[in-house]
């Protein structure tokens, strides 16, 4: 493979820097050439093979080794692209925004430093996966539940830092973060919140410490490298009852979201609730070819066939009740009666589902924090395996939900893809996550995806909808939509970047934030 170099770095300088990295971590933990191929984006959204290509990777095992690498990177001007586990696959995997970067691979920093059952928290290094933490808890019989995203092999720390979501009452992952250790671009290590006080024992109990609360600055950012993080864990509830409510018509999403809002804001619905569309749920267990052999998106008649075959709706709301049985019974009465207002709504518990695999049986495990990879099934819908997420945020209103659905699904189908999407309801917001599945081996489909995505970003912004998270290929586009008051927020980000990372070596281009020497250049 070609050796990509960052701007202003010669082959000789890179070779010298790599040798110094080997001295820090050991030669077996520096990867170049063919050994660095797995760091490429496995689902590219471009046909330009020079984009998002790392030069190599270095894998430290401790905070001290991270500091050593940062020191060398500053000395030689080498951009580092930190990844926790490198499995943020709908958004670029381990690949960097800036070609020629060295991936700072934190997989080896995989120590579970503490799990506290009484207070319900864990202190973790970034290489700890959801599977790792789940197994640790199960092996010790601790009465704690995780909150997992759909793929369980990712990093607990990394997912929270990228504002990932899950499906229990603890579904806002960064909201459940408490205390972190960060290596700044200068190489200095900082502990936030109560961790800044030597001998303090509330680092994972009280977020805010004293003075400005800075933890958020290190999420979706390139101001530092998070090397430890606290995360709150949910005590095992005395009862658990997952359910699914199906809705028959596309337009039902408007009424469904109107019903959901007061139930969610009022905490009658306890968990991070999701309303998922037909194709997304159907694709978990079946491929498109089973139902349709034509070109382009499935017609409505085929959608009806799928609904009958899998006994699911055009929209499917999976939720769960947590607590003592009388509490669950009371909450369920309110939820059932509320959604009964939607004509054709059907209500299911696990025992009502006989088909296998089944979407509720699967989601029931996810909503109780069991890590899985079942959702990867939808990547096989077309057979080509590629996927990218488009994720605008709106208020929890029926009008916004139907507007977003019509805008996005219309464009997605216009470009020849099936609409796969979900509406995830947070504390006060609606995340609309549309996953576009395509053939990663098809240059034509990659071209269409790229064109489609840029249209979606622009049209959403014109309606006031901003993305909460994005693929490495669209970070500049998304950042440019957050431009109130002559880009005041980005200007502030750049000032912070210059102060904490004066040589600009940490993740250039992350979230559209570029170091001073690369701003307004062809790289940015």
């Amino acid at each position: 493979m070609a050796d990509y170099l960052p701007p202003g770095v010669s082959e000789e300088v890179m070779a010298e820097a790599l040798e110094r990295f080997r001295q820090v971590v050991g030669s077996e933990w520096v990867f170049t050439g063919d050994d660095s191929i797995p760091y490429d984006d496995p689902y590219p959204v471009t046909n330009d093979e020079t984009l998002y290509r790392p030069h190599g990777a270095v894998a430290p095992a401790s905070t001290e080794e991270v500091q050593g690498i940062v020191q060398v990177a500053n000395e030689f001007g080498i951009p580092l692209w930190p990844v926790s586990r490198g499995k943020n696959f709908a958004y670029g995997g381990a690949a960097p925004v800036l070609s020629g970067s060295i991936v700072l691979d934190l997989n080896r920093m995989n120590r579970i430093l503490e799990v506290n059952e009484d207070f319900g928290y864990a202190l973790l290094e970034p290489g700890v996966s959801y599977y790792d933490l789940y197994n640790y808890i199960q092996e010790r019989g601790l009465r704690l539940w995780l909150d997992v995203p759909d793929p369980g092999w990712g990093s607990v720390v990394g997912n929270a830092l990228d504002h990932g979501v899950g499906y229990t009452p603890y579904g806002d992952h960064f909201g459940m973060q408490c205390g972190m250790e960060v290596v700044l671009g200068t190489g200095e290590a900082v502990r936030t919140g109560m961790g800044a006080m030597p001998g303090n024992n509330t680092w994972q109990l009280f977020k805010y410490g004293f003075g400005p609360y800075v933890d958020g600055m290190f999420s979706q950012s390139n101001f530092g490298i998070v090397t430890k993080m606290g995360i709150w864990l949910m005590p095992e509830p005395p009862g658990y009852r997952p359910y699914m409510i199906t809705f028959e018509r596309e337009e039902d999403i408007e009424q469904v979201i109107e019903i959901l809002r007061p139930l969610k804001v009022g905490m009658v619905i306890q968990n991070a609730a999701t309303v998922r569309n037909l194709v997304l749920d159907a694709a978990i267990s079946e491929t498109k070819s089973r139902y349709y052999s034509g070109d382009g998106p499935i017609p409505d008649s085929v959608a009806r066939d799928i609904m009958a075959d899998q006994e699911i709706g055009m929209w499917n709301f999976c939720g769960a009740l947590y607590g003592p049985p009388p509490v669950m019974d009371t909450l369920w009465t309110v939820i059932r009666d509320s959604f009964s207002a939607v004509p054709g709504a059907r209500f299911y518990f696990e025992e009502d589902r006989t088909r296998r695999p089944d979407i509720l049986i699967h989601r029931a495990e996810t909503m109780r924090g069991i890590p899985k990879l079942t959702e990867f099934g939808f990547l096989n819908w077309n057979g080509g395996g590629g996927h990218v997420g488009f994720s605008p945020v709106s208020p929890i209103t029926g009008a916004d939900a139907i507007r977003q659905y019509e805008m996005v699904s219309g464009r997605v189908r216009e470009y020849g893809f099936d609409y796969m999407g979900l509406m995830a309801i947070g504390w006060r917001d609606l995340h609309h996550v549309a996953v576009i599945v395509y053939d990663r081996n098809s240059p034509d489909e990659r071209t269409r995806i790229d064109e489609l995505f840029k249209i979606l970003v622009a049209e959403a912004a014109a309606e006031g909808y901003g993305e909460y998270r994005t693929h490495i290929g669209y970070m500049d586009e998304i950042a440019a939509t957050y431009n109130w008051n002559d880009n005041a927020l980005m200007k502030m980000h750049e000032k912070i970047k210059d102060a904490l990372d004066p040589n600009g070596i940490v993740a250039p281009g992350k979230s559209g934030i570029w170091p001073a020497h690369l701003r307004n250049t062809d790289s940015a």
Partner: protein, 121 residues
Amino acid sequence: MRAHILAILAAPIVALPAAANAQEEGAGQAAYERHCIQCHDTDDEAVGTLQLGRTRGEELALLTERSDLTGEYIAAIVRNGLNAMPGFLPSELTAAQLDALVDYLTAASAASAASRATQAD
């Protein structure tokens, strides 16, 4: 990268030696259970097994029962991925662990083939 995968796919299928010793076999099984089994298990939600069954046929759906995979092919797919499957980083699955995984899978498939032959007799 893609040319490399195609070259591996086109390579003749040859028999490979079984796991060198019990220690390697244990390491290979551990790697399989840590990295592969979530998608390539026998349960009805194992997406890799489901997809291989659809595209290659049921007799080639389960990795541990396949006798057509060379070590070189397994290693290439583990590092490069294939379609929905992404590749695995050398930090999470080291070169030594990958070697052990290859030995484990080829030994398992050889044992499976022998079992089938015995049953056929």
